[in-house]
Symmetry: none
Subunit: 169 residues, 4 copies
């Protein structure tokens, strides 16, 4: 019924790979969970600053949000002149990314018409599934939160978010 | 994007068939309604356990929800490490399945772009229409509730849900 | 029901005491955070069972919800015949209790007309501030989640919740 | 705490005075509006830092939000260990304060049972009317945004918010 023109075997392999790596990260995470399971405000501010610097360098105006391991807002800034409508987008991107432990763009690939997670956006009081949200991992690979960036093209948003991710050592 | 070339007459026939059988089930259901119209907590817990065992056997981490004949939450468990975003998905899958008395995947086929129930997900405070939600029937075939599973691939979610369905004798 | 004629000086002392102990618990919690910061499903199910047994012994019909340290739903059961409207109440009680690290009844005392937190219920997509929600602590005193019970009198709901709390060793 | 036995004539006078001064500020504000009508991110971050320093000095754990002249979120931080439920409270306090151009505590006095603005909290997708939200004014007295602080006693929240206000020169 759900006609899918991507060959479905390839997609299954892709999905299984994601699941596998999520599983690996999860086990790893559980094993080391005793060390650090959440982000601190200091870390969140460093992450936000790194994303903001990248945005300034690229000359884009964005909103930047960081959520913790519980998907709760930890830090947020809106650059002067950035879209007002992107406040909610940035926060929802960060939240979405942590709720499903993957980048929002990856989830968005799975939520297209005909794809396995079509219209998942309606759940969890609203998800955003285009690029700009990325999980944050500590040095052990544990997911400790997520960053969401919104205001420019989705590619630029994602790039700024990745700069934030890279700042968490 | 995913254009569906099934000819629309076939689809109409298919839909009418569904409607017819729904009608039959409805009448049947009404006739025996005096015997048992709802699930009990004991049954719900057995169903949840069966779905969970299947998930454990497959090595997947899922959220499992059971709703009663009124589509109201009856039992829920989240396996340690399962997606936080799947709490809402599992509950919405169970609810969706009971609201329309079919598996969520079946409904999802009808809600794709160009299909008869396009964007039905926006109704009822949010539906989930990809696989993982399945109606629960008593031994007389009456629908007495539904189960929703979320956290792994939609195929695996559906399989775990079916294990729950099978546990209700 | 929760009419409070406590004079305002006593209340101030009470509030300061709460803040102090919250502070103590927090520091303690942070110090030991490396050991165990969240509840497991096994623990959640033991807690739910204990609350349910108490309810059965008292002959009351309740909904029981357990949330984890991130205030996300972990386990839920509704006893046969319990109020449908209490599904949401039980979940919101558990959530409220974890969001503010105190029992819902305590928060309810502070949210009455003329009290410091009047109408706080409007926040966080809806809080429930009458008794029945209680934080869950591990053996080190860390808050690792909360339980919410709803369906009977608020006193009985609270008692059943406390039975759940006691079951977490 | 905010019990007010002020007789109702005095209250009317008080209300009219507020309205009058609001009117004055409004005209004044409009006249100079061409100069600076909004807060910048740099200013917002200075304000947040000042509120945070005060909180650290007092040993309290709070969430701090700053909204601009349009009542839209501009900056937010949550101190490690601050109530999760106060994320929404801090943002709503800042928003409420800017929406009505007065401190949330002042509005809260007017929203008590029997008072002129009873249950105003239900409006605007949820207001918070206990202390901790304060308007931000530029050097000309124009309201350019608001700050909201939540996590400690309402008096301490308000004090930290005032420290933020004082940082905007």
């Amino acid at each position: 019924m759900i006609k899918q023109k991507i060959n479905s075997r390839m997609r299954a392999v892709f999905l299984l790979s994601i699941m596998f790596f999520l599983g690996v990260f999860w086990v790893t995470g559980s094993a080391i969970a005793s060390e650090s399971t959440d982000i601190t405000l200091e870390q969140a501010l460093v992450i936000v600053s790194a994303a903001r610097e990248r945005a300034e360098k690229k000359g884009i105006l964005v909103n930047i949000a960081v959520v913790d391991a519980g998907a709760n807002l930890m830090a947020f800034v809106r650059m002067d002149g950035a879209f007002l409508g992107s406040i909610d987008l940035a926060i929802k991107k960060a939240r979405t990314s942590r709720l499903f432990n993957m980048s929002t763009g990856t989830l968005g690939g799975l939520s297209q018409p005909g794809e396995p997670l079509y219209n998942i956006e309606i759940s969890n009081a609203g998800l955003i599934t285009f690029p700009g949200g990325v999980p944050l991992k500590d040095k052990n690979g544990n997911i400790v939160g997520a960053i969401g960036v919104s205001g420019a093209s989705v590619e630029d948003d994602h790039e700024a978010a990745m700069a934030g991710v890279a700042a968490l050592k």
